[in-house]
């Protein structure tokens, strides 16, 4: 059994957005007890990650690290038509991925205690993002 649904996530610009609750709702509605939940973001400048969900400073540190690893406005980048965050957003997305698959056990995503599901917006301006959830199992 395969069910597909699209999540619309409005971001307020660069940063991490906890989408665990929306994903759990889709899994719950699917009535799948054991299986897999695949998430896919249809963009090349935002990504999906699992991250520590308790201390917000983890996600602040993520931003600081990424901004240092891939600086906005790096003069070596040629692809800059959408601004200084354009190419960095592509690179950040590729290093952290656009797909994520989670096990479903007993009708819920079998996340560890400290794991949350986050959409990571890499563009500085707000964007509307689409995430396709595909649920499989029985």
């Amino acid at each position: 059994m395969i069910k597909q649904q699209t999540l619309q996530i409005q971001t307020r610009g660069r940063g991490t957005y906890d989408i665990s609750r929306q994903v759990e709702r889709i899994v719950h509605e699917s009535a799948v007890r054991n299986g897999l939940c695949h998430l896919f973001i249809q963009h090349t400048s935002a990504s999906l990650i699992l991250c520590e969900n308790a201390d917000p400073s983890v996600r602040d540190d993520l931003e600081v690290f990424m901004a240092r690893l891939i600086p906005d406005g790096d003069p070596t980048f040629e692809h800059t038509q959408e601004g200084p965050d354009d190419m960095p957003a592509h690179l950040r997305s590729i290093l952290t991925n656009m797909d994520l698959t989670l096990p479903i056990s007993n009708g819920r995503c079998a996340l560890g205690t400290w794991q949350g599901i986050f959409l990571w917006e890499h563009r500085t301006h707000p964007h509307q993002r689409q995430v396709i959830a595909t649920i499989q199992g029985g």
Copy 2:
């Protein structure tokens, strides 16, 4: 329903190769309308990524960034028996992944407008690469 097929991709050395068309053909031939397409590269020195598919300068910038992050011939690397690009190729593959799962909707990979599927060859010399596609769904 699960169907498996192997793609043979001949690379001309380091660089990104758009394999979207080959993947779409396999999805089309499977006749799956809704499901998932899993791609797996059977190598540790090449990877699979989703990347912006319109402006080739994005992929030029990817190479420049990676060459700076993981320089060929870095003297701190011990694993150099196949040359200065040997260990960098392993590292690049691990940072960008050897597996990729895409949703299938209405008989096609549900990619975003700007998403293309690329094999990223990390060795400087040409290689024959194998990608296993596993299609699930109904």
Copy 3:
């Protein structure tokens, strides 16, 4: 058909641990001939990677590279309550992922000759890690 099983992996602290044999045993016991094997680590400070399995210097170089990219005790990190390796462990996990999907062909994981499945422990102290394997196929 979907089967789920949890692997318990005891680590001796930071480093890579070959779990290929344990994964192959689960695939074998599932009796699935063709399908997929999804692996998921329920932690945010350890990850799952595919890596060259022949020369141990590859994995030594991985550690050297990561320690340089994300130094323990970096004073820019705020999230340090569990020590100098706390935030680096989260970052390493996010860059290398907590999920991995492998094709199953002819009753075995269809890995390339040089591909091994490794749990990468990013904390310096030993930890008990849980990996959920979900096997699908027929």
